[in-house]
């Protein structure tokens, strides 16, 4: 028999108590893993979502650039418009690789009858120039399969054809060839005007805000929203994207009235920076969970030491050194924490989807795709953290046990 075996068998003596302590550690580790996974996943998803916008620079109406970026990522009602002449002006820039105009408007979401919440939200409608838009986002593909065959872009002049993003179509339970009814309030009007569109294509999942958007021809969007000669955003991709080029490009166009140039890279850095600050609070929650688990472990092992006072006395009597008793109790603590750590990692892996669904049901994170990514590094770090907790949690109980004088321990055990 070895110390490890003896420690494990000691823990099995009070199975329920040991199991509850292990569970406490496991939950703390699961919380820590999930939060770290969320931190990593959300940053990555945000970064990917911004990259999936397709353009590196947005030329748009003056205002908060981060609000503008957020609006592009998750939609919003604070839309501002600029004259569409800037599209032609900016399009002449020598450093531009590709450029596309985007008109964004909001339609009342059609109440499907199956979704009670549908009437309370909006559908984002994007007026686009199909050719330049598709050039900017070459990954956009039409969904195929039953109900989706024959998907294609609308004709540029069409007034009643739309293409739906994957999630928008799924939400509204629409297939290619179906009609969709969307009430739209034109600029200056008080009442919404009903519009019925034919769905000519449904896009495959893109992993960006495009999934929740209904696309229609640029000119048609201007017309039905009663904003002729206006647009929301000009998306730009530069031939060479670096800090110097971007600065020169910005300086050239910042002088246009009512226009700002937004660098998506900077937006990404700023949002992730803000996210880091917010996640300090989240980390505090994880630390508290770990501290509670640590106190639970100390309490359990200490109780176990006190209950076994007589046994510890007899172990010393039959030749155990102080170090032997210390090692034994310490191993017990490490066992509890190692098992809790492993279980916690398992819980987190299994529960990732649930956690993600929970988070997404509570708040619109503005990103598509998975926001919780549990990497091997996170698992290793969390498991190591649990072992570290065991390392420290075991010190005091082990010291108490090792410091017992055998004669007193045996006497107390008899009492």
């Amino acid at each position: 028999m070895r110390f490890l075996t003896l420690a494990l068998k000691n823990l099995l003596r009070r199975k329920v108590r040991s199991a509850l302590t292990v569970l406490g550690v496991a939950l703390a580790v699961a919380v820590a893993v999930s939060l770290m996974g969320f931190r990593t996943g959300y940053k990555q998803a945000l970064s990917e979502s911004i990259d999936r916008l397709g353009f590196q620079v947005m030329v748009m109406a003056k205002g908060c650039p981060y609000e503008a970026a957020t609006m592009m990522l998750k939609g919003g009602t604070g839309l501002l418009y600029v004259p569409d002449s800037i599209y032609a002006q900016v399009g002449k820039d020598k450093d531009i690789d590709s450029i596309t105009p985007i008109f964004i408007g909001l339609a009342m979401k059609e109440t499907s009858g199956l979704r009670e919440d549908a009437g309370s939200s909006f559908t984002i409608m994007a007026g686009i120039e199909q050719e330049s838009f598709a050039t900017m986002k070459p990954w956009l593909k039409f969904k195929t399969g039953q109900g989706f065959y024959g998907g294609h872009w609308f004709a540029p002049e069409s007034e009643d054809e739309v293409v739906m993003g994957y999630e928008a179509a799924t939400y509204e339970q629409r297939k290619v060839g179906d009609k969709i009814f969307l009430p739209i309030t034109p600029n200056g009007a008080k009442e919404a005007v009903p519009h019925t569109f034919k769905i000519v294509g449904i896009l495959d999942r893109a992993g960006s805000q495009d999934d929740g958007t209904v696309f229609l021809p640029f000119k048609t969007a201007q017309k039905i929203f009663n904003r002729p000669n206006q647009l929301t955003i000009v998306g730009v991709k530069l031939k060479t994207f670096n800090r110097d080029n971007l600065r020169e490009f910005t300086n050239r166009w910042i002088s246009l009235p009512e226009v700002q140039v937004v660098d998506m890279g900077q937006v990404k850095d700023t949002i992730t920076g803000l996210l880091d600050s917010a996640q300090t609070m989240i980390a505090a929650v994880a630390v508290i969970a770990v501290l509670v688990a640590l106190i639970g472990v100390v309490n359990t092992i200490l109780m176990s030491v006190y209950e076994r006072t007589g046994e510890i006395g007899i172990m010393k009597a039959i030749g155990a050194y102080r170090g032997d008793i210390f090692t034994l109790i310490w191993f017990e603590t490490l066992f509890v924490c190692a098992l809790g750590g492993a279980l916690g990692c398992g819980f987190a892996l299994v529960g990732t989807k649930l956690v993600e669904a929970g988070i997404k049901s509570l708040i619109n994170l503005g990103v598509s795709g998975s926001v919780v990514r549990i990497t091997p590094d996170i698992l290793a770090c969390s498991f190591g953290g649990a072992i570290l907790v065991g390392f420290f949690a075991g010190l005091y109980p082990a010291w108490r046990a090792a410091s017992m004088r055998p004669v007193e321990a045996i006497r107390e055990g008899i009492g």
């Binding site: 028999m1 070895r2 110390f3 003896l6 068998k9 000691n10 099995l12 003596r13 007589g310 046994e311 006395g313 007899i314 172990m315 010393k316 009597a317 039959i318 030749g319 155990a320 050194y321 102080r322 032997d324 004088r405 055998p406 004669v407 045996i410 055990g413 008899i414």
Partner: protein, 242 residues
């Protein structure tokens, strides 16, 4: 043949402070114990027999006086050095058996080998169990044994490291008469067959008088020392049975 002295105590005192009062639990004991002896320590509660056996076991340190185990002075040694002295010389049996409930009989018996860094072998464990007549119970858990059997497992646990002296503090305190007698018969056999030295405390006079030597303590001092004969032991047993 010259007798080997295993324990030598001179002027052994153990005083405790209880508030402002000093309790003289042991107050100057001189004692020699030799190899192959079975020595009973008798006396009423508070006479000092447990205090004396704790000192002889190196589990406690004397306030005054000298003590040698196998010729090695133990006064002033650190706790770990005392543990070494115990490892090499002493085996222990207590009133409470202190068997670990999650270990089976064989694992309980082999436990001292873990602490003394000795190789554990099934043969060695079985040999120790055979000495106490429980070799067929090696795989059982303590909860499956009677009180007498558990005490015999505790004795096997003490014997596995081949101690020179077996210290038994009230070993029959939790046992019925028949089991108590069986334990003392076992001690007698071990002394006679293996040359083991046994120092035992007991409240039971008839059992105590089965030893080679009986030391009666009173108020922390040795009151008398006797070498019982077969007749005196039988008389004590008869007196005790009434």
């Amino acid at each position: 043949m010259e007798k080997i002295k295993l324990i030598e105590a001179r002027g052994l005192k153990r005083h405790f402070k209880r508030g402002s009062e000093v309790v003289k639990a042991l107050d100057g004991v001189d004692l020699d114990i030799f190899q192959g002896e079975m020595v009973s320590l008798l006396g009423p509660s508070g006479s000092g027999k447990t205090t004396l056996i704790n000192l002889l076991s190196c589990l406690d340190a004397p306030t005054e006086g000298s003590l040698s185990i196998s010729g090695q002075p133990v006064a002033g040694l650190s706790e770990d050095r005392l543990a070494e002295v115990r490892r090499g010389n002493l085996g222990f049996v207590f009133q409470k058996f202190y068997l670990l409930p999650t270990l089976n009989v064989a694992e309980n018996v082999a436990l001292p080998l873990l602490f003394t860094r000795q190789a554990s072998s099934h043969e060695r464990t079985l040999a120790a169990l055979k000495q106490v007549g429980l070799e067929d119970r090696a795989g059982h858990l303590p909860s499956e044994l009677s009180g007498g059997q558990m005490q015999r497992v505790a004795i096997a646990r003490a014997l596995i490291v081949k101690p020179k002296i077996l210290i038994a503090d009230e070993p029959t305190g939790n046992l019925d008469k028949a089991n108590g007698e069986a334990i003392f018969e076992l001690f007698t056999r071990l002394v006679n067959e293996s040359g083991l030295t046994v120092v035992v405390t007991t409240h039971n006079l008839s059992l105590g008088y089965r030893a080679n030597r009986v030391i009666t303590l009173s108020d922390g001092k040795i009151e008398k020392e006797e070498r019982p004969t077969v007749a005196s032991a039988a008389a004590m047993a008869a007196a005790n049975s009434h």
